[in-house]
Amino acid sequence: MSKSTKWRWLAAMLATLAVLVVAACGDDEDGGGGGGGASADVEQFPADTTMGRIQEAGSIKVGVKYDVPPFGFQNPQTDEIEGFDVDLARAVADALGVELDPIEAISDNRIPFLMDGTADLILSTMTINTERDAEIDFSDPYFVARGRILVPGDSDIQGIDDLGGQKVCTAVGSTYEETLKEQAPDAELVLIDEYSGCLTRLQEGSVDAISTDDVILTGMIIQDDTLELVGDELTTEPYGAGIKDGDKEFQEFVNGVFEEYKSDPRWAESYEKWVGQYTGQEQEPTDLSLQEALEISG
């Protein structure tokens, strides 16, 4: 390479770098003003709070499910991550005036994600319980799901009492491991990473039933209408957002956002869009407190 060519390369690289820097700064300004009208009157938080740190970063990393329609899933048409949990995550992002950065959180990595800072907040169909409460903090409940059993339409299983000796699928790290061990001790558990795996195995007959929250099972019925929900409600599952242990300020902030979200039409609209139109059921936003939720699910 001749000397003059070298200089030309250097100049070109510096120019590219300059363009990138300008572009990056431009993005920052966009981020600050992003989110439309909502962000104009957004409160700016001190830099030493989680809220301030997120505002500094310009985006909030929220762990959501990618395979649990209708709460958190990838829309096959648009590739966007959508769902009830994602709507709520967006409300939190809007309240901070930052972009929403969804990351995939499966049941057994979401608590570590919070602990190591991979995620700022977890909104992934996570039931509030005391075991988890020892590791992380929860927001107030934002939704109450019920535990049910899903079987093929021609199955003999009609409820929890018929599960003895049957293979029952649920997700690794979900509350249903414990629930099933207690309520159906003779059932053989198959624990898979993702609920989509449970659906595959139910369809090909290598498990006899799936047990988890009714909303997740509803998502499976949307995909395959030969399946049906049977039996009584096994459990009450109040969903809460996961927050890093001890971060009281952020917990209060998130609770405030949820309070507002539940009282204006956004909660009801999101519910109708993702759940109501498929189940034909109506539901009021839950007014359970975190303490009550912890007592219910133990």
Partner: protein
């Protein structure tokens, strides 16, 4: 430190049952890999073109596909085709057949590492083809393939963890650790013990290989 000992004390039965499943899985897979791998290696060096082609196809298919894809084909695929295979059978069988492709290639290279002159000398001494194979070529080939077979075995032990994480969902060592992490959220100590479990197996395999190497070493 206390946390580490508590984690093993509280979860010992689960971790032990996972460890036992991992031991069984890798043992069965290892036997399948050696038997099938030797057979495929023999096909690969067979004097007939058709036999060689069969061996080549086997190696290309089983070595060319990701283990996860093979597992799902062997389990979900067969079940959809009407074969009622269980995860306990599909897992070790697939891992064994997958590893066999690598075994075959290692054995083939070991076979070719024995100089042609050795074979010619043996035949000219009046041994027939089979005797040459058994008494002259294979003993020398075996010696050269011990180190690569040891590496492969270590890789196979680690690969066994893919079975539990897949759709097959068997509860091997890593899976049991993950299940207990899900229940307690206490990831680091539980994964530490899972790591210790895998190390006992991989280091164990290496030590056995080292012994075999010493035993069959030729002092020159």
């Amino acid at each position: 430190m206390v946390e580490l000992w508590e984690a093993i004390a509280d979860n010992f039965p689960e971790l032990a049952s996972g460890y036992w499943l991992t031991v069984r899985t890798v043992t069965i897979s290892f036997v399948i890999a050696l038997v099938i791998g030797t057979a495929v290696a023999l096909l690969r060096i067979a004097p007939t073109r058709v036999l060689r082609a069969i061996g080549t196809v086997y190696v290309e298919v089983f070595r060319g596909l990701p283990l996860l894809v093979l597992l799902i084909m062997a389990f979900s695929g067969l079940r959809r085709a009407g074969v009622p295979i269980t995860a306990t059978v599909a897992g070790p069988a697939t891992l064994g057949l997958y590893t066999a492709a690598y075994v075959a290639e290692i054995l083939r290279s070991g076979f070719f590492a024995v100089g042609k002159g050795q074979r010619e000398a043996s035949l000219s001494l009046g041994l027939d083809g089979g005797q040459t194979m058994r008494h002259v070529v294979l003993p020398q080939a075996f010696r050269t393939v011990i180190p690569p077979l040891a590496s492969l075995t270590v890789a196979m032990i680690k690969n066994s963890a893919i079975i539990g994480g897949s759709l097959l969902a068997t509860q091997d060592l890593l899976k049991e650790a993950r299940i207990e992490v899900g229940a307690s959220g206490n990831a680091t100590p539980l994964f530490f013990w899972a790591a210790v479990g895998y190390l006992t197996l991989t280091v164990g395999a290496t030590v056995i290989a080292r012994r075999l190497e010493t035993r069959y070493a030729v002092r020159r």
